[in-house]
Protein backbone atom coordinates (compact mmCIF):
# COMPACT_ATOMS: atom_id res chain seq x y z
CA UNK A 1 0.00 0.00 0.00
CA UNK A 2 2.77 2.37 1.02
CA UNK A 3 4.68 1.46 -2.10
CA UNK A 4 1.63 2.18 -4.27
CA UNK A 5 1.15 5.53 -2.58
CA UNK A 6 4.78 6.44 -3.06
CA UNK A 7 4.65 5.37 -6.69
CA UNK A 8 1.46 7.32 -7.37
CA UNK A 9 2.95 10.36 -5.58
CA UNK A 10 6.06 10.21 -7.68
CA UNK A 11 3.99 9.80 -10.81
CA UNK A 12 1.95 12.86 -9.82
CA UNK A 13 5.20 14.77 -9.35
CA UNK A 14 6.37 13.65 -12.77
CA UNK A 15 3.13 14.76 -14.40
CA UNK A 16 3.27 18.09 -12.58
CA UNK A 17 6.82 18.53 -13.78
CA UNK A 18 5.74 17.90 -17.34
CA UNK A 19 2.99 20.52 -17.07
CA UNK A 20 5.03 23.06 -15.13
CA UNK A 21 8.05 22.35 -17.25
CA UNK A 22 6.34 23.56 -20.41
CA UNK A 23 7.23 27.21 -19.75
CA UNK A 24 10.90 26.54 -18.94
CA UNK A 25 11.03 24.31 -21.99
CA UNK A 26 9.80 27.19 -24.09
CA UNK A 27 12.42 29.42 -22.45
CA UNK A 28 15.10 26.91 -23.27
CA UNK A 29 13.91 26.71 -26.84
CA UNK A 30 14.00 30.51 -27.14
CA UNK A 31 17.43 30.58 -25.55
CA UNK A 32 18.76 28.06 -28.05
CA UNK A 33 17.21 29.80 -31.02
CA UNK A 34 18.43 33.15 -29.77
CA UNK A 35 21.96 31.83 -29.50
CA UNK A 36 21.64 30.44 -33.02
CA UNK A 37 20.44 33.80 -34.37
CA UNK A 38 23.31 35.53 -32.59
CA UNK A 39 25.72 33.11 -34.29
CA UNK A 40 24.16 33.96 -37.64
CA UNK A 41 24.73 37.63 -36.93
CA UNK A 42 28.34 37.05 -35.94
CA UNK A 43 28.84 35.33 -39.27
CA UNK A 44 27.49 38.41 -41.01
CA UNK A 45 24.13 36.87 -41.91
CA UNK A 46 22.23 39.76 -40.42
CA UNK A 47 19.13 39.55 -42.59
CA UNK A 48 18.46 36.00 -41.45
CA UNK A 49 19.38 36.87 -37.87
CA UNK A 50 16.88 39.74 -37.90
CA UNK A 51 14.23 37.41 -39.31
CA UNK A 52 14.83 34.90 -36.52
CA UNK A 53 14.81 37.57 -33.80
CA UNK A 54 11.48 38.81 -35.15
CA UNK A 55 10.01 35.29 -35.08
CA UNK A 56 11.21 34.82 -31.51
CA UNK A 57 9.63 38.10 -30.48
CA UNK A 58 6.26 36.84 -31.69
CA UNK A 59 6.59 34.16 -29.03
CA UNK A 60 8.22 36.37 -26.39
CA UNK A 61 7.19 39.96 -27.12
CA UNK A 62 8.40 41.28 -23.76
CA UNK A 63 11.91 39.89 -23.95
CA UNK A 64 14.14 43.00 -23.70
CA UNK A 65 17.35 41.22 -24.71
CA UNK A 66 15.68 39.95 -27.86
CA UNK A 67 14.62 43.48 -28.71
CA UNK A 68 18.22 44.59 -28.18
CA UNK A 69 19.51 41.89 -30.52
CA UNK A 70 16.89 42.72 -33.11
CA UNK A 71 17.94 46.38 -32.90
CA UNK A 72 21.57 45.41 -33.56
CA UNK A 73 20.50 43.27 -36.53
CA UNK A 74 18.41 46.14 -37.90
CA UNK A 75 21.44 48.41 -37.59
CA UNK A 76 23.58 45.97 -39.53
CA UNK A 77 21.11 45.87 -42.42
CA UNK A 78 20.60 49.63 -42.48
CA UNK A 79 17.06 49.70 -41.04
CA UNK A 80 17.88 52.53 -38.71
CA UNK A 81 14.38 53.77 -37.94
CA UNK A 82 13.41 50.23 -36.94
CA UNK A 83 16.60 49.88 -34.87
CA UNK A 84 15.76 53.11 -33.07
CA UNK A 85 12.32 51.77 -32.13
CA UNK A 86 13.66 48.37 -31.13
CA UNK A 87 16.23 49.89 -28.76
CA UNK A 88 13.55 52.06 -27.19
CA UNK A 89 11.38 49.00 -26.67
CA UNK A 90 14.29 47.01 -25.19
CA UNK A 91 15.17 49.68 -22.66
CA UNK A 92 11.54 50.43 -21.79
CA UNK A 93 10.95 46.80 -20.87
CA UNK A 94 13.51 46.85 -18.05
CA UNK A 95 13.63 48.80 -14.82
CA UNK A 96 17.41 48.87 -14.87
CA UNK A 97 18.71 47.80 -18.29
CA UNK A 98 22.19 46.24 -18.38
CA UNK A 99 24.97 48.66 -19.17
CA UNK A 100 25.75 46.87 -22.43
CA UNK A 101 22.21 47.52 -23.66
CA UNK A 102 22.44 51.17 -22.68
CA UNK A 103 25.85 51.43 -24.35
CA UNK A 104 24.37 49.99 -27.53
CA UNK A 105 21.51 52.44 -27.51
CA UNK A 106 23.69 55.42 -26.70
CA UNK A 107 26.21 54.66 -29.43
CA UNK A 108 23.45 54.04 -31.93
CA UNK A 109 21.63 57.25 -31.10
CA UNK A 110 24.79 59.26 -31.80
CA UNK A 111 25.01 57.65 -35.20
CA UNK A 112 21.26 57.86 -35.78
CA UNK A 113 21.17 61.61 -35.18
CA UNK A 114 23.98 62.10 -37.67
CA UNK A 115 22.32 59.80 -40.16
CA UNK A 116 19.03 61.63 -39.86
CA UNK A 117 20.88 64.88 -40.43
CA UNK A 118 19.86 66.27 -37.07
CA UNK A 119 22.13 69.00 -35.92
CA UNK A 120 23.76 69.00 -32.51
CA UNK A 121 23.44 72.75 -32.18
CA UNK A 122 20.59 75.13 -32.97
CA UNK A 123 21.23 77.99 -35.35
CA UNK A 124 22.28 81.00 -33.34
CA UNK A 125 20.54 84.34 -33.91
CA UNK A 126 23.93 85.91 -34.64
CA UNK A 127 24.45 83.42 -37.45
CA UNK A 128 21.06 84.00 -38.99
CA UNK A 129 21.25 87.79 -38.79
CA UNK A 130 24.33 87.88 -40.96
CA UNK A 131 22.76 85.95 -43.81
CA UNK A 132 23.77 87.42 -47.12
Amino acid sequence: MAKTLLRSGALTLLLAALVLGAAPARATSIKKEMAYAVDLGKKGLWHEAAHRFRLLLVRAPDHPRLWNDLAVAYEAVGRYDDAHQAYEKAVALMDSPPEEMLANQEAFEVFYRQWKGAEPLPATPATESESP
Binding site: L14, A17, A27, K31, R65, A76, G78, G117, P120
Partner: protein, 227 residues
Protein backbone atom coordinates in the same frame (compact mmCIF):
# COMPACT_ATOMS: atom_id res chain seq x y z
CA UNK B 1 11.53 2.53 -7.83
CA UNK B 2 10.65 5.87 -6.29
CA UNK B 3 14.28 6.89 -6.34
CA UNK B 4 14.48 6.05 -10.02
CA UNK B 5 11.40 8.15 -10.68
CA UNK B 6 12.86 11.10 -8.78
CA UNK B 7 16.10 10.86 -10.74
CA UNK B 8 14.09 10.70 -13.97
CA UNK B 9 12.11 13.71 -12.83
CA UNK B 10 15.30 15.66 -12.06
CA UNK B 11 16.83 14.78 -15.43
CA UNK B 12 13.66 15.87 -17.25
CA UNK B 13 13.55 19.17 -15.37
CA UNK B 14 17.20 19.93 -16.06
CA UNK B 15 16.67 19.04 -19.71
CA UNK B 16 13.75 21.48 -19.81
CA UNK B 17 15.98 24.22 -18.55
CA UNK B 18 14.59 24.50 -15.05
CA UNK B 19 15.29 26.53 -13.07
CA UNK B 20 15.61 29.40 -15.56
CA UNK B 21 16.09 32.88 -14.16
CA UNK B 22 17.39 36.17 -15.51
CA UNK B 23 20.17 36.00 -12.96
CA UNK B 24 21.57 33.08 -14.90
CA UNK B 25 21.78 35.06 -18.11
CA UNK B 26 25.25 34.80 -19.70
CA UNK B 27 27.55 37.65 -20.54
CA UNK B 28 26.66 39.53 -23.69
CA UNK B 29 28.82 38.95 -26.74
CA UNK B 30 30.68 41.67 -28.54
CA UNK B 31 30.15 41.99 -32.26
CA UNK B 32 31.58 44.36 -34.84
CA UNK B 33 29.02 45.61 -37.34
CA UNK B 34 29.21 47.67 -40.50
CA UNK B 35 26.53 50.32 -40.64
CA UNK B 36 25.65 50.87 -44.29
CA UNK B 37 24.74 54.38 -45.30
CA UNK B 38 23.14 54.71 -48.70
CA UNK B 39 23.68 57.97 -50.50
CA UNK B 40 20.80 60.19 -49.53
CA UNK B 41 20.42 61.51 -53.04
CA UNK B 42 19.82 59.46 -56.15
CA UNK B 43 22.99 60.19 -58.09
CA UNK B 44 22.18 58.12 -61.17
CA UNK B 45 22.96 60.05 -64.32
CA UNK B 46 25.34 62.49 -62.67
CA UNK B 47 28.96 62.37 -63.71
CA UNK B 48 30.33 65.89 -64.04
CA UNK B 49 29.96 67.84 -60.83
CA UNK B 50 30.46 71.57 -60.46
CA UNK B 51 31.18 72.73 -56.91
CA UNK B 52 30.49 76.39 -56.11
CA UNK B 53 30.22 79.22 -55.86
CA UNK B 54 28.71 79.95 -52.49
CA UNK B 55 26.95 82.84 -50.90
CA UNK B 56 29.10 83.82 -47.92
CA UNK B 57 29.74 86.43 -45.31
CA UNK B 58 32.94 88.42 -45.21
CA UNK B 59 35.70 87.08 -43.07
CA UNK B 60 38.76 89.12 -42.10
CA UNK B 61 40.99 86.07 -41.92
CA UNK B 62 40.43 84.32 -45.25
CA UNK B 63 38.31 83.78 -48.34
CA UNK B 64 35.91 81.26 -46.83
CA UNK B 65 34.17 80.55 -50.13
CA UNK B 66 37.44 79.60 -51.80
CA UNK B 67 38.47 77.41 -48.86
CA UNK B 68 35.09 75.66 -48.74
CA UNK B 69 35.16 74.90 -52.47
CA UNK B 70 38.67 73.53 -52.13
CA UNK B 71 37.65 71.27 -49.21
CA UNK B 72 34.47 70.00 -50.89
CA UNK B 73 36.26 69.20 -54.14
CA UNK B 74 39.09 67.44 -52.37
CA UNK B 75 36.77 65.25 -50.29
CA UNK B 76 34.53 64.37 -53.23
CA UNK B 77 37.52 63.51 -55.43
CA UNK B 78 38.97 61.36 -52.67
CA UNK B 79 35.78 59.51 -51.80
CA UNK B 80 33.79 59.17 -55.01
CA UNK B 81 34.05 58.39 -58.71
CA UNK B 82 32.46 61.63 -59.85
CA UNK B 83 34.36 63.92 -62.15
CA UNK B 84 34.79 67.05 -60.07
CA UNK B 85 35.27 70.06 -62.33
CA UNK B 86 38.35 72.06 -61.49
CA UNK B 87 37.19 75.38 -62.92
CA UNK B 88 37.21 78.43 -60.65
CA UNK B 89 33.91 78.64 -58.81
CA UNK B 90 31.46 80.79 -60.75
CA UNK B 91 29.96 83.91 -59.24
CA UNK B 92 26.42 83.67 -57.98
CA UNK B 93 23.70 86.27 -58.48
CA UNK B 94 23.27 88.52 -55.47
CA UNK B 95 20.14 87.08 -54.01
CA UNK B 96 18.95 85.31 -50.92
CA UNK B 97 19.49 81.58 -50.61
CA UNK B 98 15.77 80.85 -50.86
CA UNK B 99 15.56 82.81 -54.12
CA UNK B 100 18.73 81.19 -55.44
CA UNK B 101 17.19 77.75 -54.97
CA UNK B 102 14.41 78.72 -57.39
CA UNK B 103 16.66 80.35 -59.98
CA UNK B 104 16.42 77.52 -62.52
CA UNK B 105 17.38 79.63 -65.59
CA UNK B 106 20.64 80.67 -63.93
CA UNK B 107 21.57 77.08 -63.10
CA UNK B 108 20.66 75.79 -66.57
CA UNK B 109 22.96 78.41 -68.10
CA UNK B 110 25.69 77.54 -65.60
CA UNK B 111 25.37 73.83 -66.35
CA UNK B 112 25.60 74.46 -70.07
CA UNK B 113 28.67 76.66 -69.66
CA UNK B 114 30.52 74.05 -67.59
CA UNK B 115 28.82 70.99 -69.07
CA UNK B 116 27.89 70.00 -65.54
CA UNK B 117 25.33 67.32 -64.69
CA UNK B 118 25.00 68.52 -61.12
CA UNK B 119 25.82 71.78 -59.37
CA UNK B 120 26.63 71.88 -55.66
CA UNK B 121 26.22 75.35 -54.30
CA UNK B 122 24.64 77.11 -51.33
CA UNK B 123 25.78 79.35 -48.52
CA UNK B 124 28.54 79.37 -45.92
CA UNK B 125 28.60 81.55 -42.84
CA UNK B 126 31.55 81.73 -40.49
CA UNK B 127 31.00 84.02 -37.56
CA UNK B 128 32.49 84.71 -34.18
CA UNK B 129 30.88 86.29 -31.16
CA UNK B 130 32.21 87.35 -27.80
CA UNK B 131 31.29 84.76 -25.20
CA UNK B 132 33.30 86.24 -22.35
CA UNK B 133 31.85 86.19 -18.89
CA UNK B 134 32.14 85.02 -15.34
CA UNK B 135 32.50 81.34 -14.60
CA UNK B 136 32.80 79.50 -11.32
CA UNK B 137 35.86 77.50 -10.45
CA UNK B 138 37.70 75.96 -7.55
CA UNK B 139 40.30 78.09 -5.83
CA UNK B 140 42.96 76.67 -3.49
CA UNK B 141 44.53 79.14 -1.14
CA UNK B 142 48.36 79.01 -1.43
CA UNK B 143 48.75 79.83 2.24
CA UNK B 144 46.04 77.79 3.95
CA UNK B 145 45.40 75.17 1.23
CA UNK B 146 41.69 75.74 1.71
CA UNK B 147 39.44 75.00 -1.25
CA UNK B 148 36.74 77.50 -2.15
CA UNK B 149 34.48 78.17 -5.14
CA UNK B 150 35.09 81.54 -6.73
CA UNK B 151 33.82 83.41 -9.76
CA UNK B 152 36.35 84.66 -12.27
CA UNK B 153 36.21 86.37 -15.63
CA UNK B 154 37.10 84.44 -18.78
CA UNK B 155 37.77 85.99 -22.15
CA UNK B 156 36.20 83.59 -24.64
CA UNK B 157 35.04 83.58 -28.24
CA UNK B 158 32.31 81.47 -29.81
CA UNK B 159 32.84 80.40 -33.41
CA UNK B 160 29.98 79.18 -35.58
CA UNK B 161 30.21 77.58 -39.00
CA UNK B 162 26.95 77.10 -40.85
CA UNK B 163 26.77 75.41 -44.20
CA UNK B 164 23.68 75.25 -46.41
CA UNK B 165 24.22 72.98 -49.37
CA UNK B 166 21.92 72.79 -52.35
CA UNK B 167 22.20 70.25 -55.15
CA UNK B 168 20.83 71.39 -58.49
CA UNK B 169 20.24 69.26 -61.57
CA UNK B 170 22.04 70.75 -64.55
CA UNK B 171 19.55 69.71 -67.22
CA UNK B 172 16.61 71.72 -65.90
CA UNK B 173 18.05 73.78 -63.02
CA UNK B 174 15.78 72.14 -60.48
CA UNK B 175 16.74 71.65 -56.84
CA UNK B 176 17.14 67.93 -56.15
CA UNK B 177 18.42 68.00 -52.57
CA UNK B 178 19.28 70.49 -49.88
CA UNK B 179 20.70 70.14 -46.41
CA UNK B 180 22.20 72.27 -43.66
CA UNK B 181 24.90 71.73 -41.08
CA UNK B 182 26.00 73.85 -38.18
CA UNK B 183 28.85 73.56 -35.74
CA UNK B 184 29.80 75.83 -32.88
CA UNK B 185 32.74 75.89 -30.51
CA UNK B 186 33.62 78.19 -27.62
CA UNK B 187 37.31 78.74 -26.93
CA UNK B 188 39.53 80.92 -24.80
CA UNK B 189 40.23 83.92 -26.97
CA UNK B 190 43.97 83.86 -26.27
CA UNK B 191 44.27 80.27 -27.37
CA UNK B 192 42.04 80.29 -30.46
CA UNK B 193 43.11 80.94 -34.01
CA UNK B 194 40.11 81.76 -36.25
CA UNK B 195 41.78 80.17 -39.26
CA UNK B 196 42.50 76.91 -37.47
CA UNK B 197 39.04 76.86 -35.91
CA UNK B 198 37.47 77.20 -39.37
CA UNK B 199 39.24 74.12 -40.65
CA UNK B 200 38.46 72.17 -37.48
CA UNK B 201 34.77 72.96 -37.78
CA UNK B 202 34.70 72.29 -41.52
CA UNK B 203 36.26 68.89 -40.97
CA UNK B 204 33.34 67.90 -38.77
CA UNK B 205 31.05 68.23 -41.80
CA UNK B 206 32.92 65.78 -44.03
CA UNK B 207 30.81 62.74 -43.21
CA UNK B 208 27.60 64.72 -43.46
CA UNK B 209 27.99 66.10 -46.97
CA UNK B 210 29.70 63.02 -48.35
CA UNK B 211 26.74 60.99 -47.11
CA UNK B 212 24.50 62.95 -49.48
CA UNK B 213 26.20 61.62 -52.60
CA UNK B 214 28.42 58.71 -51.65
CA UNK B 215 27.37 55.36 -50.11
CA UNK B 216 29.37 54.95 -46.93
CA UNK B 217 29.69 52.53 -44.09
CA UNK B 218 30.85 52.84 -40.55
CA UNK B 219 32.21 50.19 -38.20
CA UNK B 220 30.69 50.05 -34.75
CA UNK B 221 30.87 47.71 -31.76
CA UNK B 222 27.66 46.34 -30.27
CA UNK B 223 26.62 43.82 -27.62
CA UNK B 224 24.36 40.85 -28.31
CA UNK B 225 22.61 38.83 -25.66
CA UNK B 226 22.27 35.10 -26.09
CA UNK B 227 19.56 34.59 -23.48
Amino acid sequence: MTRRLMVALFVILIHMGWPASPAMAGRPQTVRIQLPMEARMDTEGYRRILVGGFLHNDSPVMDIEKELVRILRRELEKNSDFLILADPPPSLPEQRLEDLKKNAPFFVALAEEFRADLIITGRILYTSVDRSGFVQGEYISPTTGRRTIRSYYVDRTGYTLKLDLIFVRGSDGQLVYDTSFIQEVILDTDESDPLGVFFDLAERFHDNYLAVMVPRSRTEIRYLFTE
